[in-house]
Each structure stands twice: as structure tokens, then as C-alpha cells.
Symmetry: C2
Subunit: 209 residues, 2 copies
């Protein structure tokens, strides 16, 4: 087993799933993309589904890590919020494709699998999704205590922000009519309004910590 080879498979699969759709992609196509036979491929992933779960898990883990780093560094909750909202549009083309796979196929995370390897990967990705939601909710609860965002149920607000963000990847297409910069600007302004952050609060000059 080679970690590089595993990464190659994940990247080829993300490309296929994001471009052609998960349902439409044949596992054999991915094997061909990376030049592996079915037996060799099986060492890395049991099935297309297994590979999908690993892609989802890595995507959510990346969000989670970036979120933790940015919020830990920020002097105030509002600074942290702004940093995270900007950061979640700093995406490579592959990450855009991965987001598209994530939102199109997240429903599959509820389907229990009969294969132990698949089921383990499914649970890992599902648990990590819950972790990310929990991290957002805890952070928003802190932001509420600092009066940076409106006082409401932090779990519901976390789901609303994540839901609004996820909805972008259902329709956004690279090289489409609406550019990523325009989407980012629109999304950040509307997400802040939804969270009850006044435009004045984000425009005030900030002193580096």
C-alpha cells in the first residue's frame, strides 16, 4: 500500500464524481484513471461507496481543521467568524469539485452499509460531520456571549450557516455566469445579516492582537 497511490485514487474519484456525478461513475473508470486493476484497487478501497465516504471524511476534516485554527487565532469571536467565512471560499478547483460531491452525496451518509469496511468509513464521515456542526455551534454560543451575533439557538444557527454555505455548491459551476468572487461577497454579506451582525460591526477598523 502506498499513501501516494491512495491519494491518486481519491483525487481521480473526486474528479469523476464531481464532474460526471457519483451514480454515473463506474468504479472501473477510476481504476483505469490511476492504472490499477480491480485486485490492486481493492487493497485501497473496497468499493466506490467506500471511496466516497473517505472523500467526504477528508473534506469535512479539512473544514474542521481550518475552522479550529482560524477561530483559535482570532482575538474576538467576530474576527474569527469573518476569518472563517472568507476562508471557506479559498478553494482550489479540486476543492470546489469536492464540495459539489459533498453536498450532492451527503444523503448517503445515512444509509447503513452491510460491509464492515464501508460501514466504518461511513460512520467516520458521519461522526466528523456532527463534530463540525458541534464546533460551529460551540463557537456561535461564544459569539452570542460576546454579543457578536444574535442570541438564538446556536445549534440551529450553526445548521443554518452550514446549510446556506452548502447550498452554493448545488448550483455553482466554475466558468459559469457567476464568478467565485461574486459568490463569496454575496454569501458573506447574507450570512452575516442572517446571524444578526450589523455591517458597521464588520467595517470598524481592527487593531492587530
Amino acid at each position: 500500500m502506498s499513501a501516494t497511490r491512495r491519494t491518486d485514487i481519491v483525487e481521480a474519484a473526486t474528479e469523476r464524481f464531481g464532474r460526471d456525478g457519483y451514480e454515473e461513475t463506474k468504479w472501473a473508470d477510476i481504476a483505469a484513471d490511476v492504472g490499477l486493476g480491480p485486485t490492486a484497487l481493492y487493497h485501497y478501497f473496497e468499493s466506490k461507496q467506500h471511496c466516497l465516504y473517505v472523500i467526504l471524511d477528508q473534506a469535512i476534516d479539512d473544514f474542521r481543521t481550518r475552522f479550529a485554527t482560524l477561530t483559535a487565532q482570532a482575538p474576538t469571536a467576530l474576527d474569527g467568524l469573518l476569518a472563517v467565512l472568507h476562508d471557506c471560499f479559498e478553494l482550489s478547483e479540486r476543492e470546489v469539485l469536492r464540495n459539489r460531491v459533498l453536498v450532492a452525496e451527503q444523503g448517503l451518509l445515512s444509509n447503513r452499509s452491510t460491509s464492515p469496511r464501508e460501514e466504518e468509513a461511513r460512520r467516520a464521515a458521519r461522526d466528523r460531520t456532527r463534530d463540525l456542526e458541534f464546533a460551529w455551534a460551540s463557537f456561535l454560543a461564544k459569539a452570542m456571549r460576546e454579543s457578536a451575533v444574535i442570541e438564538t439557538d446556536p445549534r440551529l444557527l450553526a445548521r443554518a450557516v452550514l446549510g446556506l454555505y452548502n447550498s452554493v455548491w448545488h448550483w455553482y459551476r466554475p466558468n459559469g455566469l457567476v464568478g467565485l468572487d461574486q459568490v463569496r461577497e454575496f454569501f458573506i454579506a447574507r450570512a452575516l445579516a442572517m446571524m444578526g451582525v450589523s455591517p458597521d460591526a464588520t467595517a470598524r477598523p481592527r487593531i492587530a492582537a
Copy 2:
């Protein structure tokens, strides 16, 4: 062919897809639910996929009809907006299940089908989704002219409202920890804030037209 029988199949399928998941459901289970053999079932729907497209189409058509009626009756855009936001939580248990199917499987609307009957149903549902988005965008453009909502790109704002609404059905479960009334109250308040509607504007007394 009987219209009642067709409705029975659609209802049985919505129940199964919403409760057990689309992938997990076997077409034969639905046949058994309504007491039809595969040949008789085929008169109504070519496949599970065909039936799914019809369910999605009907769900979006319902939203579209209710949206058109409520916004046409309202004296102002703000009244129309409030009426629509309240209405979209007036749901039977079956409509909640249908929303869940809609958001879990909407990605399948992008996959072209090789069967003419399936493809026709897929296009109908996809076109109706676009119609609904367009109706929302036109309505929000009018609301912007009336200064009822913030001045921004109406197509992006339409997608944001629909995206926020759709995100609810990914996690909402009947008999779960969070009741539908609580979800409705939270969603309406946050959606209005996102659209730049001040709480004062919605609280002012209204004179019947």
C-alpha cells in the same frame, strides 16, 4: 390506467424513499405495498427512477402553485413574502417526507437518462425547479423595487432563501428534538434577516386590502 392507482404508487414510494432512503428502497417493495405485479406497475412507471422524478416534479409544482397564489393575493411584496414563508411550513407528515426526498435526491436531476420516459420526467422536474427559482427571483426583484428587502442580485437571493429552506429537511425529523413550530419560527426570523427585512417592518399593523 387509474389516476387513483398512480397516486397510491406515488404515496407508497414517497413513504419508502423518505423513511428508508431512495437507494435502499427496492422497486419490488413499492409494488408489494400497492399490491401490483411488475407488469402492472410498469404501466404507471418505467422504473424507481421514473417514479422519483414524478415525485420531485409534483413537490416542486405544489410549491410553485402555492407561491403564485399567495404572492398574487398579497397587497404588498412584504405581505407576500411573509405569507409564503409561513406557508412553506404548513406541511402534512407526507409533505415533510417528500421534502426530505427532494433535498436528498435533487442531485439526480442532473443525470441524463437513456430511457425516453425517464428522461422526459427528469427534464420536466428539472425545468420546474428552474421555474420556481425564476418565480422567486422575479418576486424578490419586485420586493427590491418596493424597498421591502435589501437591494442585491435577486437570482442569488432566491437561491439563498431556497437553499436555506431546503437545508432544514436534511436534518429535521418528525418527533425529533426540535419541533416543526420551533423550526418555522427560527427559519422565518433568520430568512428575513438574511433578506435585510427589519423586525420592525414585519411587526407593524397591517390594513386589509
